[in-house]
C-alpha cells in the first residue's frame, strides 16, 4: 500500500521530488498522499462551483458555447 502511495505521489508531484519522498516512512507517505488527494478533491469541487456560478450569469443561449470554451 505504501509503495502504491509512493508511486502515485511521484506521478502527481513529479520525479524532481522523488528523493524527498524517499525520506518519508510508509505511514508518512500514505498520509501525504491523503493530504494531496483531499486538496485535489477540494480544489475540483471549488472549481466546479466557481464555473457554475459564472456560467449562471451568462445568458442561457450562450451557455453551451461558453461551457465548451471552459472544456466542461
Amino acid at each position: 500500500m505504501a509503495e502504491d502511495a509512493r508511486s502515485e505521489l511521484r506521478r502527481r508531484l513529479g520525479e524532481q521530488v522523488a528523493d524527498v519522498l524517499d525520506l518519508l516512512s510508509d505511514a508518512e507517505t500514505v498520509e501525504l498522499l491523503a493530504c494531496y488527494r483531499e486538496a485535489a478533491d477540494t480544489q475540483r469541487a471549488a472549481m466546479v462551483t466557481a464555473q457554475e456560478r459564472s456560467l449562471a450569469m451568462v445568458p442561457a443561449l450562450l451557455r453551451p458555447g461558453v461551457r465548451k470554451i471552459l472544456g466542461g
Binding site: L13, Q16, V20, L23, A39, Q51
Partner: protein, 296 residues
Amino acid sequence: MSAVTPPAGLVTTAELTKLARALGLPPDRVEFLARLPVDDLRRLRDAASAALFDRHRTGFHRMAAASRLLPIGVLATIAERTMPPMLAARIAAEMSPGRAAELAGRLGTDYLADVCVELDPRRAGPIVAALPLPVVVAVAGDLVRRGEYLTIGRFVDAASDEVIRAVLSGIEGDEPLLRIAFHIESPDQLARVVGVLPDARVRDVVLAGVTGPPELQVAGLSLMSRAGALGARLGDLAAEASPADLTRLLDTAVAHGAVPELAAVVSRMSEPARRRVSELVDSSPHQELRVLSDST
C-alpha cells in the same frame, strides 16, 4: 501562525504553514513532515502547489485566450460581477503579465485582494511587478487588514525596492511588519526589507519582536536570525530591551524550538550586548540555552 509541537524550528514552521496553505489544509495536518530538512519541505511545497495549479490549466488557458477578444474594461466588469476570485486568479495566471496587470488595475481593491490570495505563486511576481504602485499599496493594505501576511510575504519576495518601500510605508504598526517578515522566504529579500525601513522604524519593529507576545517574539527571532549582515544591528537593538523582556524572549526561544535562531542572533551581537544576554542565560533554568555560551 500556530505553534508546532514538538518544536520544529522557525523556518520549518513557516514552511509547514505555506505547505498547508498550498494544500488548503490546516497547518496541523502537515506537522508530521516537520522532521524534513527545510529545503526539502520547500521543494515538496513547490511541487504540490505546481501540481494543483496545473491540473485544470488547459481550460483556463483557453479562457484567457478567449478573453483577448474583449476590451479590458468589459472584461473587468464581467470578472467582478460574475467570477469568483479563484476563477479570476486562475485565468489571470494564464494571461500575459501586462494584460493581467491592466485588468487588475480596473478591479476594485477588495476583489483584487481576493484574487491575489488565490494567485499561483509562480505567476504572482511578474503580475505584481507590472501593477501600478498605488494599486499594489492599496491591495497590500487590504491584505494586512485581513491578516493575509503569508500572501503579502509571497509578493514581497518578488518585489522591487520601490514596491517594498511603498508597501511598507503604507502599513501602520510594527506587528504586521513582523508577521509579513516571518513569511518572506528569501534572506536577501528580507535584508532588503530591513534596508529600506527608516532607522527608527527598524528599532520599533525589533523591540516589538522582543517585548510582544510569544507569536511576535518568534517572528522577531526569525527576522533577526535571517537578516544577514544586518543581523548584528538588529541583535544589538534587541539587547536594549529590559532584562525581563529578554528573559521572556529566551523562554519563548526554548518553547518554540528557536534556540538555534537565538544563538545565531547572539553570535552576531556586539560584545556589550552579548554580555547582557549571557548574564541572563547564566541565570536561566533552561539547559537548552547552554549552547548560547558558545556564542557568547
